[in-house]
Amino acid sequence: MENKTDTLAVRLFGSSISYMRKSLFRILSVGPIPNHIAFILDGNRRYAKKRNLNEGMGYRAGFLSLMTLCKYCCELGVKYVTIYAFSIDNFKRKPHEVDAVMDLMLEKIQGMLKEESIVSQYGVRVYFIGNLELLNEHVRQAAVKAMEATSNNDKIVLLICVAYTSTDEIVHAARESCEAKRARVRSSGAREGNEEELKVVDIERHMYMGVAPDPDILVRTSGETRLSNFLLWQTSNCVLYSPRALWPEIGLRHLVWAVLNYQRVFPLLERRRKQM
């Protein structure tokens, strides 16, 4: 009997916290809400060391933070969330570390494919952004399957950057535009094609991140202030925010602070966007 009342009390407490959070989001919604927020998930290994856990647990704690933050973003009304899950530079880590991350990713992607997953519950459409050829066969296939399975969801879009760096994305886009241009030249005849130069719009059309608009806020946890080759092309007009908390420690207060700062400079960003 006591267990039942405890659960009830916990449930009531949980729903009152949820009600307060939704009221806070209602207040924030008076001002402009960002359409797209990007996160660099930095600090998982430091968190594990700090809490005397093994590294794998650091990444799992990071995954829980990710789910919580996606839920908050969904409630706030953010339409696109991008995360920097794995960089091409991270392949330089020790093989057992890389394998641990890949195994966790495979486990979580397979979890997404289930009916009762958070992804289906919240209507999340998932994209995997990056040079997927660099991933092992299992992870790549699971990623492609997850993208297909969630293609009908429309509440919020989650872009997961794996095997991604901004410079690789730019080179890939340049390569694709060159090939498209060559195909046009070959089909239409040499004289017409050579007069036109490649333009910025041609490159942007072939970017991996072309499926989403430019981010409005970029959050990098653990206090580091560099972009580490993430979304360098897309962040021309994006507010950068570096809280000192490690990624598994990130919470509602950081999201609210980021959105308030964004709202503060929004008129200036709008003016700059029109000028660019």
Partner: protein, 294 residues
């Protein structure tokens, strides 16, 4: 409510029913019951109307209440930044007066190349920009890159270089052999040196690898892109540290290819720049440890 009650009693008595029934009179009970139920229904509907009115009042003034709360949140944020600004001013005053040992022994050699991104409206204050360059030179920096979106600094580049050179000539003796070494080399870029430069470099690659050769799928790599950018005139190294002078913490379109691992620090508006804050920012950079992904 009082008016309704008296109306109801009149209503009930109009049907020949006494408001307070006598015991034993069973034949009127059924009709009385129906009357009572109708009275109850009317009261509930009136109560519902009242509640609806109160709810609409809360909703419309609730919107105003939300706006007030939103403004209060932003007021708290502005107060916080004001306090931080005051503390920052005191700290930079103390730093510039040489009170802290760690800021006196600054290892400037760690900053090989510094970038300064300035908001285009603020970049019009050429004298402020000149003062900033003077400070950077005094701290010991030799290679600086200035950036602004609209290209305002490109127009004032000649004036800035001339003024800096004049100051150097007038302050140093003519026979000083180290005059050339102490020069601040200045690179000035704008938005067109970012995305459009990459498009031009891709065009160079197109002509070199795709249109002239017969290879089906040339493998373009990042070093090919770097070489192509070098071929069209962009040979400067990547900045180690970027300082942003402007209202928002945003790199304003600085060439993407060059800021892969650059530390980005926001210094606030140009008009409130302080040398102490500059020294603190450079010191903070020298304490940073980069993993480069490993």
């Amino acid at each position: 409510m009082a008016l309704n009650c008296s109306n109801n009693s009149r209503f009930l008595s109009g049907f020949g029913v006494r408001v307070f029934p006598q015991p034993g009179k069973l034949e009127f009970d059924f009709a009385r019951l129906i009357m009572f139920l109708r009275w109850l229904e009317a009261t509930i509907l009136d109560f519902g109307d009242e509640m609806h009115k109160v709810y609409m009042w809360i909703w419309s003034s609730g919107d105003l209440g939300l706006r007030l709360l939103w403004h209060i949140l932003h007021l708290i944020l502005s107060t916080w930044y004001f306090i931080i600004g005051l503390m920052g001013s005191v700290e930079s005053f103390l730093i510039s007066s040489g009170l802290f040992k760690r800021y006196r022994d600054l290892d400037i050699s760690k900053v090989q190349y510094l970038a300064v991104a300035i908001d285009s409206d603020e970049a019009l204050q050429t004298l402020k920009v000149l003062e900033l360059l003077r400070w950077l030179e005094a701290i010991g920096l030799r290679k600086v890159c200035l950036y602004d979106t609209a290209g305002v600094l490109k127009k004032s580049k000649e004036a800035l270089t001339l003024l800096l050179k004049n100051e150097r000539m007038s302050s140093e003796t003519a026979s000083d052999p180290l005059v050339e070494e102490k020069c601040l080399s200045l690179e000035v870029i704008s938005f067109s040196d970012g995305k459009q430069a990459v498009a031009k470099a891709a065009d160079v690659l197109l002509k070199k690898h795709y249109l002239s050769s017969n290879t089906e799928k040339p493998k373009l790599t990042e070093s090919d892109m770097t070489d192509a950018l070098g071929a069209i005139g962009y040979r400067e190294p990547d900045p180690d540290l970027m300082l942003i002078y402007g209202p928002a913490r945003c790199h304003m379109g600085f060439p993407a290819w060059r800021i892969r691992y650059t530390e980005i620090l926001h210094m606030g508006p140009l008009k409130s720049m302080k040398i102490g804050a500059l020294i603190k920012a450079i010191h903070r950079y020298t304490m940073v440890h980069q993993n480069y992904g490993t």
